[in-house]
């Protein structure tokens, strides 16, 4: 592989006595759309602000396009950032907002005009150029914030939860728009969100963070199919993976996990898993098949039915344990119905009971 476009090497950060980042290492290839995802407070914004040059780096290194930028001012890092609250200058018109950074760089007027026009074309801002930010809708402000990043023609785009202030429908639209923009401009992008759906749908590479550490990074489906830790397994996917603690046993010669209450969950044999190990048994809802035949699986009692249109989400109790299952068929069940659920033993994830690492 070529040299990475952005490299983060052993980045650490503390605010006073609280350590927020504990040694972040990450390499980002050119043109990639990278999504940093993790629960609130895990240090995503802090990491992004360090890359942007808004937080001092006391430990570790950041390399952008072959240059160590630890001591380079934010304005000279060739980056542009879109903030969660847009951070538009409220007293300036859209046009002035777009022009501000170029003015600060003493760009020629004709060039400023050209760049504003290009950005306005791409983001459909022509009609809005003379308005003040307060006269725009949330989605329009979002586009202006992106336009302001665009006119700088940056090497690296940084987004910090740019869609979290929009309603659900607009969020889906803007998601597609940002992706389309990336496909068109191919500029390397780091995008922060706490929404794993955004992470899955938008990214070339997902980086899952937890408590100041990277849990796993890679293509989204790889993380979905082979989560490296129990945390990633629980975080990625909606509805979330079923995770149950138990002990590895052999039931009638076949390997299974005894999760208590007389419930044995089957899995396919694999290297490194021995009888007696404490493990976490993981199974995605879509791999818990719902069958009409009671003889074919574990008997569960339906607790909750969530019709989501083309699929139905079920919550069912098996031996007093709550499971989530998905069916793409219209099911004729109501809370209290008894159904048979069959785990697919080939799709089971096992994690070490103490470290949470994938087995």
């Amino acid at each position: 592989m070529d040299a990475p476009f952005v490299a983060l090497q052993d980045l650490r950060k503390s605010f006073g006595t609280t350590d927020v980042l504990h040694g972040i290492n990450l390499e980002i290839p050119q043109h990639a759309f990278v999504v940093l995802v993790g629960p609130s407070g895990c240090g995503k914004s802090t990491l992004l602000r360090m890359i942007a040059g808004l937080e001092k780096i006391k430990h570790g290194r950041i390399v952008i396009d072959g240059e160590i930028v630890n001591r380079v001012h934010a304005k000279n890092r060739g980056i542009a950032m879109v903030f969660q609250n847009y951070a538009l200058y409220p007293h300036m018109s859209v046009r002035e907002n777009l022009a501000f950074s170029l003015e600060m760089l003493k760009t020629e007027t004709s060039e400023v005009e050209r760049r504003i026009k290009t950005a306005a074309d791409i983001l459909q801002l022509e009609q809005l150029l003379d308005r003040l930010p307060a006269q725009l809708s949330g989605g329009q402000r979002q586009r202006v914030a992106m336009g302001r990043a665009l006119v700088r023609e940056p090497k690296l785009f940084l987004f910090d939860e740019p869609l979290s202030n929009l309603d659900a429908k607009l969020r889906v639209e803007m998601r597609a728009e940002i992706r389309a923009l990336h496909q068109r401009l191919e500029s390397t992008t780091i995008y922060v969100t706490h929404d794993q759906v955004e992470a899955m749908t938008m990214s070339d590479i997902v980086v899952v963070m937890n408590a100041g550490r990277i849990e796993q990074s890679g293509p989204p489906l790889e993380l979905y199919d082979r989560p490296a830790t129990e945390f990633v397994a629980a975080f990625m996917g909606s509805p979330a993976m079923n995770l149950l603690r138990g002990r590895v046993v052999r039931a009638d010669g076949a390997p299974a996990v005894d999760v208590g209450e007389g419930l044995f969950l089957p899995f396919d044999d694999r290297a490194g898993v021995r009888e007696g190990m404490e493990v976490v048994y993981g199974l995605r809802p879509e791999h818990l098949a719902i069958s009409p035949d009671p003889a074919s699986g574990l008997i569960g009692e339906v607790a909750l039915v969530e019709p989501a249109g083309w699929e139905t989400h079920l919550h069912a109790d098996i031996h007093g344990r709550r499971f989530r299952a998905i069916s793409t068929e219209r099911l004729d069940v109501t809370p209290g119905s008894r159904i048979a659920l069959a785990p697919d033993p080939t799709r089971v994830h096992l994690f070490d009971g103490s470290s949470g690492a994938r087995l």
């Binding site: 951070a87 409220p90 007293h91 501000f100 003040l132 307060a134």
Partner: protein, 311 residues
């Protein structure tokens, strides 16, 4: 009920008179007494002053209507002309110095993170020191022999001027004393304005490559415009009416260099017992204050971007 409409009509909801009363009347019941009090006292003073300014009053407070005679007398008095120019100069220099200092203090306090409350509290202390005590303190600093300023200057081998004896220097000391009193409050007003600005805006400006000066001029200043207007009103008002500090500090001297309209008004009304002329001066001060306040409100508060939207 006779309805020509043939669709079945919902009966109107019974009016909840209690709710109407609570929403429509009660708030005013709370506001009105305060308003009456404020406008009553203010109106009484203004109207009373206006009437007094048109009368001659003898020592038994008997009034004789004299028309605009008091105005003619006052406006042609060289002492008035001197006080007027002194006051305008005093106000202009006080505004420039006072707002400048307030802005610097506000920006500094904004950046202070450790001991924030302590410093903000401390910064208000001058505001709570009485005018006379302030004057005494400034006298202590600027007394020619043995004063703090001159002790320092002589220790450094520099000339030791007669601060309160020299007209120009005494004027500057008076301006400083005035600033000492009014800057703390103006600082807090501006600080309040600074704190309404989203920090992300500064981050964005930093990435956009704006220098500290550009950020201040292009972003901070326009965004605190309304607060700037309010602190200008405060500083202007205080500078026009400052009185006790100056009286105790210089008593208007030397050579009437610090004889401001407020001092002149006090002497005319209460020492010479010329209430007519004193009221004329009060009307002049009122006119300046009102005119400038209206101007500030128009330019800074109404002209703010938030207001522009409402058009």
């Amino acid at each position: 009920m006779t309805s020509v409409d043939d669709s079945p009509e919902l009966p109107p909801l019974p009016r909840d008179r209690m709710a109407d009363f609570k929403e429509g009347v009660v708030p005013y019941l709370f506001v009105v007494p305060g308003l009456l009090l404020v406008f009553g006292i203010l109106g009484y003073a203004v109207v009373g002053g206006a009437i007094l300014s048109l009368n001659e009053t003898d020592m038994f407070l008997n009034k004789t209507f004299v028309g605009l005679k008091n105005y003619r007398d006052v406006f042609s008095d060289p002492r008035f002309i001197n006080a007027l120019w002194r006051t305008l100069l005093f106000v202009v220099v006080s505004i420039a110095l006072g707002i400048g200092m307030s802005m610097i203090f506000a920006l500094t306090l904004y950046r202070v993170t450790r001991g924030k409350r302590f410093f903000r509290g401390l910064s208000l202390v001058p505001y709570f020191v009485s005018g006379v005590a302030t004057a005494v303190m400034f006298r202590f600093i600027f007394t020619t022999s043995g004063g703090f300023a001159n002790s320092v200057l002589s220790a450094l081998g520099l000339p030791t001027p007669s601060w309160l004896g020299d007209p120009a220097l005494a004027f500057m000391v008076a301006v400083l004393a005035n600033c000492w009193f009014m800057v703390p409050f103006a600082t807090l007003i501006l600080l309040g304005g600074l704190q309404t600005i989203d920090r992300e805006i500064y981050d964005s400006a930093s990435i956009d490559g704006a220098s500290d000066f550009a950020v201040f001029r292009r972003i901070t200043l326009p965004l605190i415009k309304p607060m700037m207007g309010v602190s200008l009103i405060w500083v202007t008002y205080i500078s026009f009416s400052t009185f006790d500090i100056i009286l105790a500090l210089t008593a208007g001297g030397p050579q009437r260099a610090t004889e401001l309209l407020s001092i002149y008004m006090f002497e005319t009304a209460f020492l010479e017992l010329n209430f007519g002329a004193g009221s004329v001066l009060m009307m002049v001060l009122l006119a300046f204050n009102t005119a400038l306040s209206v101007l500030y409100l128009k330019v800074f508060v109404m002209g703010d971007h938030r207001r522009k939207l409402e058009k």
